[in-house]
């Protein structure tokens, strides 16, 4: 009986996310391959072509270099924020995520203002029209992922590891290399996978900052589908993209499995290190200040220009957002754009986090009993990482093509955009929650069980408080992803569902300084809204006063 119940439970836990991914991801994708006249020979033809080989190589190369630079710069930042307590830490962590949401068009405008001829940095940083500008943009977009996902995982690591290693005579480097690094692999691998896939599929960055002299697989798919109408070549490229994504996903899973640790959490009564001496203080402040400045410079440029017109500083550009200059049917007030963005981002975040939690719970609670569970969980994880590696153009097309089974009222409705963003956000949610959940010590849960806690109680009072931080990051990231997403939403949206990002691109599509000014104002609103939202989420996740940490320590000590 109990085993029947368990099988049912397992079925529900895996069934919902798998069904969701099948229906809203695999099926639309399949439709693209089916309807485009895709043939496997085409893949070989594409691979045999020098030009496409170059494009594929460049795509992988720029994504890999961007990921490595993100890790190199991000690790020290993650270390400092994880190991030390100082004022402004929370603000720093919020600020560093905001660029993630900047629409590429706007980022491109800002980067140009900084790096193009006559720009602030043009003289001593000749990056303009080089591949390094693309990489710089990728790093600015993604550095927050390392600081947040890796940094917070690091933060929760018990200082005992470091202390024990120190007592045993390990020097700084040895502690870093042989203690921290292996322990951090799962979280770092998660962050690296997300960054790699994000850059791997980046479309806008390469299209807008590459000055058209660089082409990625994604750009090539766009070119083949929309201008040349060669659906078969586009499908072949999408297939290659998918295989490479699968490969990256497999490497990630391998690392996850190989470095699976049940780690001691930092106890609440274990104070974080404070910076000692004003020298250290100043150094850290300076370091973080520089980073914030660099990451935020494009944003400062943007906000400045949204207020500064030929008539000096005015609110004119914001006021113009409220006037329907031409009596257009598709005019929406900024409040409506905001509401749409808010509902879609919120809905997508809840849905993605809910689905990810199901997978995580299923994997962890049943893994020991059934071998098959572990296998199932792995396949869900691999499938779930695919949406990040699939071209938004292809996914949008797939949705249009699968309109036959998606009931037509749902089609192009807000729900469909929410679902779509949840599909894209799912891998982020999973990569954030997985390591966090995995690190909960079984003894803690067993103790709760022994004390008579039901599954629900264990979930509510033990698990949720322990993964609170990870939940907050997952929600933040899916929200940011949804707020900034634009390619796919554009293809399946009705005009009245337009988000802030879509609105910005509408204003940019016509000449006239008023339109440009509106786009700047709306971009500033978008960035401001994202920033405020992130700060609020940060507040929400402040640990409550009941001390899970101390309970845990009691468990360790026993």
């Amino acid at each position: 009986m109990a085993s029947l119940k368990r099988t049912v439970a397992l079925g529900i836990l895996f069934g919902i996310p798998l069904g969701f991914l099948t229906f809203f991801f695999l099926y639309p994708l399949g439709m693209v391959f089916l309807r485009s006249g895709f043939q496997v020979q085409e893949v070989f033809a594409v691979l045999a072509d020098d030009y496409y080989r170059g494009v594929i190589w460049f795509t992988v190369w720029q994504a890999a270099v961007s990921t490595i630079i993100c890790l190199l710069i991000g690790l020290p930042l993650a270390y400092v924020t994880a190991q030390y307590d100082f004022r402004g830490k929370r603000l720093f962590r919020t600020l560093i995520m905001v660029p993630f949401v900047m629409p590429t068009v706007v980022m491109a405008v800002a980067m140009r203002a900084l790096f193009a001829r006559g720009g602030l940095f043009a003289g001593w940083l000749p990056l303009y029209e080089t591949v390094w500008l693309i990489i710089l943009a990728n790093v600015l977009y993604n550095i927050g992922i390392v600081v947040r996902i890796a940094g917070e995982s690091w933060e929760r690591l018990s200082p005992q590891y470091r202390e024990v290693a120190a007592v045993l005579g390990a020097n700084h480097w040895q502690r870093f290399r042989f203690v921290h690094m292996p322990l951090m692999v799962p979280a770092l691998a998660g962050a690296a996978l997300l960054i790699f896939l994000y850059c791997f599929c980046s479309f806008g960055v390469i299209l807008l900052l590459g000055g058209s002299s660089f082409s990625s697989i994604e750009v090539e798919i766009y070119r083949q589908t929309t201008q040349l109408l060669h659906m078969d070549i586009a499908a072949a490229l999408a297939f290659i993209q998918l295989i490479l994504t699968l490969f990256a996903g497999a490497v990630y899973l391998f690392l996850q499995r190989k470095f699976r640790w049940q780690l001691l959490e930092r106890g609440q009564n274990y104070p974080r290190r404070r910076l000692s001496g004003s020298g250290q203080h100043r150094l850290v402040r300076l370091l973080l200040g520089i980073i914030v400045l660099v990451v935020f410079l494009p944003f400062f440029v943007l906000v400045f220009r949204s207020f500064y017109t030929e008539n000096g500083f005015t609110l004119d550009r914001y006021a113009a957002l409220f006037t329907n200059t031409t009596g257009s049917l598709f005019f929406l007030s900024p409040f409506v754009y905001f509401r749409n963005s808010f509902l879609i981002a919120g809905g997508a975040a809840l849905l993605a986090v809910f689905l990810a939690m199901l997978v995580v719970i299923a994997d962890i609670s049943f893994r020991k009993r059934h071998k098959a569970v572990s296998w199932l969980a792995q396949s869900v994880q691999i499938i779930a990482s695919l949406p990040l590696g699939v071209s938004a153009v292809v996914l949008g097309l797939g949705y249009l093509l699968s309109a036959l089974i998606v009931p037509s009222p749902l089609f192009a409705s807000r729900s469909l955009i929410i679902i779509m963003h949840a599909v894209i956000g799912f891998p982020f949610a999973l990569a954030t929650l997985y390591p966090a959940y995995q690190r909960i010590e079984p003894t803690v849960l067993e103790a709760a069980q022994v004390l008579g806690a039901t599954s629900w109680q264990r979930m509510r009072y033990v698990v949720l408080p322990l993964i609170r931080q990870a939940l907050a990051i997952a929600v933040s990231y899916v929200c940011l992803l949804s707020l900034g997403e634009f390619g796919a939403a554009l293809m399946v949206s009705r005009p009245d569902n337009a988000t802030l990002t879509v609105g910005i691109s509408k204003y940019l599509s016509q000449p006239g300084s008023l339109n440009f000014g509106r786009a700047l104002a709306m971009s500033s609103i978008l960035a401001g809204v994202s920033f405020t939202g992130m700060l609020l989420i940060e507040r929400l996740r402040q640990p409550k006063t009941y001390q899970i940490g101390s309970v845990q320590h009691a468990v360790h000590d026993s």
Binding site: L13, L329, L410, G512, S513
Partner: protein
């Protein structure tokens, strides 16, 4: 015990499902009156009043489905040919027309208003399946503060040292005005000569961007911090500069140079999609798009010209030259040559 959690999960799942159904019911009550779905590109725009008027008169509801740019729209329509989601497609221009007709996505409909269309537009291409609605001319724009009107006597002079590093164009493989400009060079210099011309532009430091937005807002000196005073844009762009000027400009900062063959005409067509069960209403919508009121609404919405000869233009269009020296290509020529031209261009300019 674990069922407790399962119970909650099931409830949430049911609620989500219920949410979706509620969503469905909400929209399905609207289906009581006839709904006409118009598929179009994301640059499409129209006055709210006009659409409401059509809906009242025909007791219909119009849904606009904006499916990306013009290429994406056509592509979607082709792939959905068997089961079209829409009844009318608006926004296929002459560079894609050949493909649209060859794929058979349209069924015949000849509007009673056809006679009112400008003769040169009507005669450019006649097919009972498509109706021209508007046209726009892709032309060079220059920054009046930098370039003098006399210094651009011809397309050829763009290869002269006087215009070194001055021109910004868009990649024809990713941009619709970019494609028009490539077609212009093919039409003007011929299939044998256009590549040599592009080579001269390349040698003279032409800048290539992916889309109109990054050329205009990023490189064009009159609209951004960019340093290029000559850009590929539309004949109406100077008028839009005046209309959308924050400081109420009376004269545009930009202009279209009067040079022989310097513009390429994009004509946008609408058609009734094959397989619609609303053919009658779809036809009425096409008539509506050709009505004088609708035609006069077009210029300020999309910054293109109405096809009706008797449609009056808004005042600000004095800044948009209507008599331009055109280079033309037939839709069949475009359909036959486009891919090869783009490939050859990409080989020369990008690889």
């Amino acid at each position: 015990m674990k069922l407790h959690v399962m119970g909650i999960i099931t409830v949430i799942a049911l609620l989500l499902a219920a949410g979706c159904t509620a969503d469905k019911q909400e929209t399905s009550t609207e289906v009581e009156i006839q709904t006409l779905t118009v598929m179009t590109h994301d640059s499409f725009d129209v006055s709210a009043d006009l659409v409401a008027q059509f809906e009242r008169e025909h007791q219909a509801k119009i849904e606009f489905l904006q499916s990306g740019d013009a290429g994406q729209v056509l592509n979607t329509a082709v792939l959905q040919k068997a089961n079209p989601l829409a009844d009318v497609l608006y926004g296929v221009d002459n560079s894609f027309l050949g493909r649209a007709l060859a794929e058979g996505i349209f069924q015949p409909y000849v509007s009673g208003e056809t006679a009112a269309i400008r003769e040169e537009i009507r005669e450019y291409y006649r097919d009972e399946r498509v109706t021209p609605i508007d046209y726009g001319d892709v032309c060079l724009n220059y920054d009046k503060a930098v370039v003098s009107s006399e210094s651009l006597p011809s397309l050829e002079s763009l290869g002269d040292p006087a215009h070194k590093d001055q021109l910004v164009v868009m990649n024809p493989a990713t941009s619709s005005p970019g494609l028009s400009f490539l077609l212009l060079t093919v039409g003007y210099f011929g299939e044998d000569g256009y590549l040599a011309y592009w080579q001269s532009l390349k040698d003279n430091g032409v800048k290539i961007t992916s889309g109109w937005e990054d050329a205009y807002w990023g490189e064009f000196s009159a609209a951004s911090e960019g340093e290029r005073p000559i850009v590929v844009s539309y004949a109406t762009s100077p008028a839009a500069e005046v209309y959308f000027s924050e400081g109420a400009l009376t004269e545009p900062p930009t202009a279209v140079p009067a040079i022989p063959g310097g513009c390429f005409r994009q004509i946008e067509y609408a058609g009734v999609l094959t397989g619609t069960d609303q053919a009658e209403l779809a036809g009425e919508f096409i008539d509506f798009m050709l009505s004088q009121e609708y035609q006069e609404d077009i210029p300020l919405k999309m910054w293109v010209y109405p096809v009706r000869a008797d449609a009056e233009l808004p005042e600000v269009f004095v800044h948009a030259p209507q008599t331009v020296a055109l280079t033309t290509l037939r839709p069949e020529e475009i359909a036959a040559g486009r891919d090869a031209w783009i490939d050859a261009w990409t080989d020369l300019m990008m690889r």
